[in-house]
């Protein structure tokens, strides 16, 4: 990574840390936290969809299982949030193996279709197992994360928007860091090879099924994490937030942002979280415009925003040799 890029990223991270002190609007913070949670969802979905090239519609199932596991462990078994969150990730991982093992030997479109079925079955379980999950009524009064005490030095509490913002920010950066490292490793290369040409990947010794399961598992773990963060922020969860429509929402974030890139899903997540809010101004027309916008973006910007940015950047670089490197920031 060039030092110019490195400095820009560092600046962005510093800015993000100071954001709550600059913009004190509470609603803005709420949107930022929500965006952060969806950034984690989009980054993780990108691993299986963007890098490994396998379309999956069951991300909502991992999100939901993570949310419910975390909430139930804290509420019913009095676990600490700090234990519930990793356990939520484990629960999502287990689900990924249950779904992935029999499904990932199927070819692309069939795998995608199975994930549709699995997502709906999971949602149905969440909806109908009323004794455990509260059914359609959901789980209200989920406690926020319990405070971290460091002896007598200080106590970190997480029941304010500001503090939760930092919590989510830390997890977003952690997710980003881990996923970047993974994608740069031999696993990441294997995923790309599988995406580009499965037969070719097989011919150079890549265990196709094993790596597909790995990509699927990685995507699930972080979705579970996002679920836990979501549950202990919104403090209420119900099956209606974990439908196939939600999966499609995250898929759109990845694709519109630019799949297979690292920055694309981040853009996409922030955009698609903010967009319905922005469109709230046009209230009644909101979802109509949303559908229309989706169609227009998919038709005219099929490579997503990242590809569009790159196209714009290359316009500049054609103009002057000095700006020739301008596209590299977008190429992340």
């Amino acid at each position: 990574m060039s030092s110019k890029k490195g400095i820009i990223y560092l600046l962005i991270i510093v800015l993000l840390f100071f954001l709550p002190t600059i913009i004190k609007d509470s609603y803005f913070l709420y949107m930022a936290i929500l965006s952060g949670i969806f950034v984690i969802l989009a980054l993780s979905l990108n691993v299986i969809v963007g890098y490994a090239g396998q379309m999956s519609f069951c991300h909502s199932a991992f999100f939901g299982v993570g949310a419910y596991t975390s909430a139930l462990l804290v509420m019913n078994l009095k676990f600490s949030f700090w234990l519930a969150l990793p356990l939520a990730m484990v629960a999502a991982l287990i689900l990924a193996f249950i779904i992935g093992y029999p499904s990932l030997r199927l070819r692309g479109p069939y795998f995608a279709i199975v994930t549709v079925g699995c997502a709906e079955v999971v949602r149905s379980i969440l909806y109908n197992w009323v004794d455990l999950t509260g059914g359609p009524m959901g789980l209200p009064k989920i406690p926020p994360p319990d405070p971290i005490r460091l002896g007598n030095l200080f106590t970190l509490t997480f029941n304010t928007r500001q503090s939760y913002y930092y919590l989510v920010l830390v997890f977003v950066l952690l997710t980003l860091f881990i996923i970047i490292k993974l994608m740069k490793s031999k696993a990441g290369r294997a995923f790309i090879a599988i995406r580009e040409d499965e037969g070719f990947a097989r011919s150079i010794g890549i265990d196709i099924k094993g790596y597909k399961i790995l990509a699927f598992a990685i995507s699930a773990i972080f979705a579970g994490m996002a679920g836990s963060l979501y549950a202990h922020y919104i403090l209420f969860i119900s099956p209606v937030s974990f439908t196939i429509a939600e999966s499609i929402n995250v898929i759109l974030m990845v694709i519109i942002g630019g799949m297979g890139t690292m920055v694309g899903p981040i853009f996409g997540a922030i955009l698609l979280t903010a967009l319905p809010e922005v469109l709230r101004a046009v209230a009644d027309y909101r979802m109509v415009l949303y559908g229309l916008l989706l169609m227009l973006v998919m038709i005219f910007l099929p490579g997503g925003l990242m590809a569009a940015l790159r196209a714009v950047a290359s316009l500049f670089s054609k103009g002057s040799g000095i700006a020739a490197k301008g596209g590299s920031i977008a190429r992340t």
Binding site: M55, S103, Y110, I113, V121, G291, M295
Partner: protein, 289 residues
């Protein structure tokens, strides 16, 4: 077995018949145009609304309204082909899928905006009359669904098998390039496919409208079920769609009645997952390679 079983069976066949019509249109569009038309459920919904408004506003009776709606939605299909699917025919499958998802969201919410979420019923005299048959009382509408569906299915099958365009459609489904080289008018085939597909969806919506309620989201689950049926029956298999649709309708209704109401919509998905895990070719289809 008591009579309620047969009533459930009858209901299952009725809903299954409507599923067959939706699935037929869906599989034609997929098999011939390679488009997974996820807005197909909204065509179904629009067909129901069209029939409703024809009945309400013009005093037409049920059958004429059903036929007119079918033509209206067929025209919508032609429009969709002209302004959306034909210009985008080289776009990859995944992108098309998401475009149809966008279309689905657009149409569903447009309906919501124009006609409010208020649930309507399509008033027909057939809902009030019952048929007494072998000691059972079945609403005539349900019988109508099955009968009309069968008639339409036979008509479509004859059309595809016997007519010139039908043969052209089958040729395109098997081998697009070959068909083009053989001089088949691909554009015409595409138009006809979309018109027939949308017409079928409209008929399904109109038939079911009087039994269940007409509202903007009514197409959301049927399209996934059409998907499931096409998988169950094997991609592109007309016979498979028919058997799959009826089977699904019956299994769904019986599961809801005897196991748990909760299962009604989920059964389709459970079946689909199990079949794909065990026999990816579906019940009838060939393993697509």
């Amino acid at each position: 077995m008591d009579t309620t079983f047969f009533i459930h069976l009858a209901n299952g066949l009725a809903i299954g018949s409507s599923y067959v019509l939706i699935a037929l249109g869906f599989t034609l569009i997929f098999g011939i145009l390679d488009i997974i038309q996820l807005a197909h459920g909204e065509i179904y919904m629009l067909g129901a609304y069209c029939t409703y408004f024809l009945l309400e506003l013009t005093g037409m009776s049920f059958f004429p309204a059903l036929v007119v709606s079918a033509f209206v939605l067929a025209a919508v299909g032609l429009l969709l082909e002209r302004i959306l699917f034909r210009p985008l025919r080289t776009v990859p499958l995944l992108n098309l899928l998401l475009i149809t998802i966008g279309l689905s969201i657009f149409l569903m919410n447009l309906a919501n905006l124009l006609w409010t979420p208020e649930q309507r019923t399509i008033p027909t005299p057939y809902m009030l009359k019952t048929l007494h048959f072998l000691g059972l009382a079945i609403t005539v509408q349900r019988v109508l669904v099955v009968v009309v569906s069968i008639i339409v299915m036979i008509a479509v099958i004859l059309f595809i098998r016997r007519s010139r365009i039908g043969k052209a459609m089958r040729a395109v489904a098997q081998d697009k390039e070959g068909a083009a080289v053989a001089g088949i008018n691909i554009n015409l085939v595409r138009y006809v496919t979309l018109a027939v597909g949308c017409g079928l969806a409209s008929v399904a919506g109109s038939l079911v409208g009087p039994i269940y309620l007409v509202e903007p989201t009514m197409g959301a689950t049927p399209v996934y079920k059409a998907f499931v049926i096409v998988i169950l029956g094997g991609m592109g298999s007309v016979g498979g769609s028919i058997v799959g649709g009826l089977l699904l309708g019956v299994i769904e209704t019986l599961s809801a009645a005897y196991i748990s109401l909760a299962l009604k919509d989920t059964v389709a998905f459970i079946l689909m997952v199990l079949i794909l895990w065990v026999r990816p070719a579906g019940l009838f289809g060939k393993i697509l390679e």
